[in-house]
Structure formats: structure tokens, C-alpha cells
């Protein structure tokens, strides 16, 4: 089905966090849904008392497709980022028993991405109406919604149809070349 949300074009990174530049914003760890809960409990016991945020990203075209990202804070200024790769249809254990504020954040991820959190006390839609169909922030969900997708009204404000004509240079080119190298090594 044609979509106003164009998928990433050739010449773009499939796994951006894997080729990220050296920015010192948090200590990054990669976990799986199986190791997530234990790692979170260990971090909580180690002083990471606040779950700053819990969000998801849809890397359509990558395996695993989704990534649920947890940002943790240990006062005064230590941050940890947990990246949990989630396959399409896979369930993730809830962390709302470790940090209470995961409640609404996980509901939002379920609402907008369709990722189910096992053990969540009240997993239902939070942003969209209760009977909405589809998960809007997925990459294969059209921006304007399925009802208006074929509307003849032009989308002047949307720039997803404007590809970057200039070829990548500089750091962008280096990162993409590094990605190609990694793919060839595997």
C-alpha cells in the first residue's frame, strides 16, 4: 500500500545506534527481553533510582525490528541507556514493578508501537482512542492515517518526499561506510 511515510532510502543507516558518533551522554548497554528484567533490578540495586524515560524505535528493515530504550539516572549525574532489541510480535517483561513510572510509558509504547509488556497491570491504549486500529508510530503506518492516505490534498508541509539530493559527506559518509564494512564482515 503506498504510504506518505517513505521508508529509509538507500544510502541511509539501517542500525543507527550501531554507528553512532562518540557522544558522551550515557553509558550504553544492549540487553535482550530475556535479560532485561534482571539487569534492571541489578541497576536499581546499584543506585539507579530513577527511570528517566522508556521509549521505542521502529527500525523497519533491521532484525530485530523494534528497540525499546530505557534511560536510567543515578543521582547526581550518571546516566545509563539500555537498548533492548524486540522482534516483531515478541513480548517484553514490564519494569513497572521496579520503577512505578514505567506504567504509562509502557502503555504509550504499546499504544503507538504495539509492543506487549508481560506483567503490566493495565495495558491499554493511552494516547489514541480506545477503539483505534493500528499502531501509529510504526514506520509502515501512514502519517496521515489510513483514512486520509489517498487524499488528493497535497502535503506542502511534509518533507518525507524530498530526498537529500546531495550525496553524504564528512561524518555521515564515514558512518555509512563503517556500516557497510560491518555488514561485509558478518
Amino acid at each position: 500500500m503506498p504510504s506518505t511515510q517513505t521508508p529509509p532510502i538507500a544510502g541511509t543507516a539501517i542500525d543507527p545506534p550501531g554507528v553512532r558518533p562518540a557522544i558522551d551522554d550515557a553509558a550504553i548497554e544492549v540487553v535482550t527481553p530475556q535479560t532485561l528484567h534482571a539487569r534492571c533490578e541489578a541497576l536499581r540495586a546499584g543506585g539507579y533510582a530513577m527511570l528517566l524515560d522508556l521509549g521505542a524505535v521502529d527500525y523497519l528493515g533491521r532484525e530485530p525490528r523494534f528497540e525499546v530504550v530505557y534511560h536510567l539516572l543515578k543521582m547526581p549525574n550518571l546516566r545509563v541507556r539500555l537498548r533492548c532489541g524486540v522482534k516483531d510480535g515478541e513480548h517484553v517483561p514490564t519494569v513497572s514493578d521496579i520503577w512505578k513510572n514505567a506504567d504509562w510509558a509502557e502503555r504509550e509504547v504499546f499504544d503507538l508501537f504495539g509492543i506487549v509488556f508481560d506483567g503490566h497491570p493495565d495495558l491499554r491504549r493511552i494516547q489514541m482512542p480506545h477503539d483505534w486500529e493500528g499502531h501509529p508510530l510504526r514506520k509502515d503506518y501512514p502519517l496521515r492515517g489510513p483514512a486520509r492516505e489517498r487524499s488528493p490534498r497535497p502535503a506542502f508541509g511534509l518533507k518525507s518526499n524530498v530526498q537529500a539530493g546531495t550525496p553524504p559527506t564528512g561524518r555521515t559518509l564515514e558512518a555509512l561506510q563503517e556500516q557497510v564494512k560491518k555488514a561485509r564482515e558478518q
Binding site: T4, Q5, P8, I9, T12, A13, P16, P17, V19, R20, P21, I23, D25, A49, M50, L52, D53, G55, A56, V57, V69, H71, M75, P76, N77, R79, R81, W99, K100, N101, D103, W104, P121, R124, R125, I126, Q127, M128, P129, H130, D131, P136, L137, L143, G157, L158, K159, S160, V162, Q163, A164, G165, T166, P168, G170, R171, T172, A175, L176, Q179
Partner: protein, 406 residues
């Protein structure tokens, strides 16, 4: 479009005894926006409060995936609409981190950004105080606060062009140097500010009715606040001195001298005092920024591939024209990667987790919404209080629904 409201499933409504279910909102004068709280009450006291959000869900995060990098701050500004420059600052800082130009932003641009961020913090606290007080019946305070806010909106209009969403902070710097007369107007605001604060404090701080309504109401302990992910004045009112400007300084904040007011009581009155003290700290930062802005300098980086050259040069230089054309028609590419950048907004830690895949538009912009986590704490502090206290609690947590729902 569904015409049926959210059904009252057992998860929302699980009462026993004499409890009545009441929907407070989504249209309500005291919910500070479109919030629906499913209340289970027995008489006037609340047994359970389950906020229902989503009545302002705008799909901003998905919208930003379809805008150029250079346009993202326009949508970001509309999230926490009381402090637009704060959101824009967080977004542009995150994009600059991905571009790798954080160290190249000129000093003057950094100071202008700090000035705007603190002015917008004061403006946001003015709205908070005005609406919080008017919910409790102190209608005059509303007029005093909004009059003070007018000064700041005039400044934002002078710099950026619009009162509320000025779109002044851009990736690479700011959109043009400060206009003539701007710094003199900032001086005028700095000189009249102490008098205004004295008036506001005089109206409410020792007012026995206000104290009766807010002292010991909505007590949030430090542990609970951390558990609920509360940040900002609500967290500092409970004794935890966490401020992103001190913990993870950005945009030159390490050069400024300011305190982080903290209280230990954790009730609505403590949060009120913290925010008033914060307004006074903010004006100190504004005064320091104003001093630093005496020295002239560039207002944006000198990279024409990221920040368009000044408009006047288009007629004179072919390269400037080409760069302008490229940036306007297809913007710049950002190297692939992900970054989490946070700022101290008036409501707490506002963060953006931005993922780029090398294109000319963001791949994913995830917001760390300060108000969402602050509002969620309402579930913990509401039970056992009166409905009237609920209004005080919502006011003291200060949610903005553009940020909660995005």
C-alpha cells in the same frame, strides 16, 4: 472517529462500597488543560484517581519524522507550549550533538540561548502561578502574573517574530542577532522584577487561606518522587536537589552562578515556594547573561552547509545563494546515530532521544516528557484527599498537556 468515550473497564473502576465514579474533565476549568480524571469518590474524599490522557495527542513525534532537521524545532516548541524556547533549545542541542558541532557554537549564541531559556522559564512560572492561584480563588494574582508575562512575550516577539512560538533558536545558533533596543528592555525588566516578585509574594505567601489550602496537601516524599520519575520543582520541593543545569550543564550554564532552591516538606506549599525562588534565580541568570552579551560576536556557526548565510549576502555571493537554496529545499544531512539530550525545563527534565539514519530528516524523536511523569505521580498522592485538594495538587505539579500527550 469514535463517538463513544473510554469504557469504564474493571481496571479503571474497581470500587467497593459506596464509591461513586466521577469523570473530572476533559473539559474542566481547573485541570490546566485537557485532562480527564476518573475519580472514585466517597462523599468529597477521593479513593482512587486515574488520570486519562491523550485528549491532546497531536502525533508530533511522527510529524517530526516528516520535517527537515532545520524545521524540527517548530514542532518541538509546540509541545510544552508555556516554555517554547526551552523545548527548542533541547532539540537544537541534541541535533548539534549528532552533527558534532557542539563545540563550535559561538559564545554569543550560547548566551542568547541561556537568556531566552531563563526568560521563558519565568514566563512559564507566571502562567503556573496565575492559573494555580485562580483555581484557588485568588483572581487578582492571575492579572498580576499575566501582566509580568507580557514583558517577556514582548521580548520574544522582538527577537523571534512571534509572542509564543518565536522559532528563534535554530540548529547552529540563533536566527539573527538581538534587535536594537532588546538589551535595554531586558534591563528594564531586570529593574522592575524585584518589585513585581515582592507583590506576588505579598499576595500569596503569607495568605492564611492560601496556606490552609496548600500546606500539607499532596505530600510527595523524596523516595516516592524518585520512584515516580518526578523531576523539576516538584522533585526539589521534596528535598532532592537534582537540576539538569547543574548535573549535565549545557549551552554554557557552567559559566553562570545560581542556586538551586530546594525544600524538604514535599507539599504543595513547598513546591510553590521553590518555583517562586526559581523565578528569582532565573532573573539573576538573566542579568548575568545580559552582562555577557555586551561583547559583540557571531550569532551562529560559520558553516554554510548547516546554517544558512545571512540573507543580505545572497545577491552578492554565488556560494551563499547556492547554500541558501540547498538548505531551504532539502536541508542538511545529520550523521547516523542516537543521542539523549536533556534540559531543565520549567516542569523538570525535558529530554529528546533523537535517532538519525543519515538522512535530511529525523528518524525518530522520542520526547522525555517532564509533565507526563509529574502527572503520573497524581495517582500516588491523590487517594485520601478531598476533591478540592486534587485541584491544588494538579496545580502544584504543573502539567502541560502539549507535553503529556504530544
Amino acid at each position: 472517529m469514535s463517538l463513544s468515550p473510554t469504557p469504564l473497564t474493571p481496571e479503571i473502576v474497581s470500587h467497593e462500597g459506596n464509591a461513586m465514579v466521577l469523570s473530572m474533565g476533559p473539559q474542566h476549568p481547573s485541570t490546566h488543560g485537557v485532562l480527564q480524571i476518573m475519580l472514585e469518590i466517597e462523599g468529597e474524599s477521593v479513593i482512587k484517581a486515574e488520570p486519562e490522557i491523550g485528549y491532546l495527542h497531536t502525533g508530533i513525534e511522527k510529524n517530526m519524522e516528516n520535517l527537515f532537521w532545520s524545521h524540527g524545532q517548530t514542532n518541538a516548541e509546540r509541545m510544552d507550549y508555556l516554555a517554547p524556547s526551552s523545548n527548542a533549545l533541547c532539540y537544537v542541542l541534541a541535533v548539534e550533538q549528532l552533527l558534532g558541532i557542539t563545540g563550535e557554537i559561538p559564545e554569543r549564541a550560547k548566551h542568547i540561548r541561556v537568556l531566552n531559556a531563563e526568560l521563558t522559564r519565568i514566563a512559564s512560572h507566571c502562567v503556573w502561578l496565575g492559573t494555580h492561584a485562580i483555581d484557588l480563588g485568588a483572581i487578582s494574582v492571575f492579572f498580576y502574573c499575566f501582566d509580568l508575562r507580557e514583558n517577556i512575550l514582548d521580548l520574544q516577539e522582538a527577537a523571534g517574530g512571534a509572542r509564543m512560538h518565536p522559532n528563534y533558536l535554530r540548529v547552529g545558533g540563533v536566527n539573527g542577532d538581538l534587535p536594537a533596543g532588546y538589551l535595554e528592555r531586558v534591563d528594564a525588566l531586570i529593574s522592575k522584577f524585584p518589585g513585581r516578585m515582592k507583590e506576588l509574594r505579598g499576595l500569596l505567601q503569607a495568605n492564611p487561606i492560601f496556606q490552609d489550602r496548600t500546606i500539607d496537601v499532596g505530600i510527595l516524599s523524596a523516595d516516592e518522587a524518585t520512584q515516580w520519575g518526578v523531576t523539576g520543582p516538584a522533585l526539589r520541593g521534596s528535598g532532592v536537589a537534582y537540576d539538569v543545569r547543574k548535573a549535565f550543564p549545557y549551552s554554557g550554564y557552567e559559566q553562570y552562578t545560581f542556586d538551586v532552591p530546594t525544600r524538604t516538606e514535599g507539599d504543595a506549599y513547598a513546591r510553590f515556594l521553590v518555583r517562586l525562588d526559581e523565578m528569582e534565580e532565573s532573573i539573576k541568570i538573566v542579568a548575568q547573561a545580559r552582562e555577557k552579551l555586551r561583547t559583540a560576536g557571531p550569532y551562529a556557526i560559520d558553516d554554510p552547509k548547516i546554517f544558512a548565510p545571512p540573507k543580505e549576502t545572497i545577491a552578492l555571493s554565488m556560494e551563499a545563494l547556492i547554500h541558501h537554496f540547498k538548505i531551504v529545499s532539502e536541508s542538511f544531512r545529520v550523521p547516523p546515530g542516537d543521542v539523549y539530550q536533556s534540559v531543565e525545563g520549567p516542569r523538570g527534565e525535558l529530554g529528546y532521544y533523537i535517532v538519525s539514519n543519515g538522512e535530511n530528516r529525523p528518524y525518530r524523536v522520542r520526547t522525555r516528557p517532564a509533565s507526563l511523569y509529574n502527572l503520573q505521580a497524581l495517582k500516588g498522592i491523590a487517594p485520601g484527599n478531598l476533591i478540592a485538594d486534587l485541584v491544588v495538587m494538579i496545580g502544584s505539579l504543573d502539567p502541560v498537556f502539549g507535553e503529556v500527550d504530544r
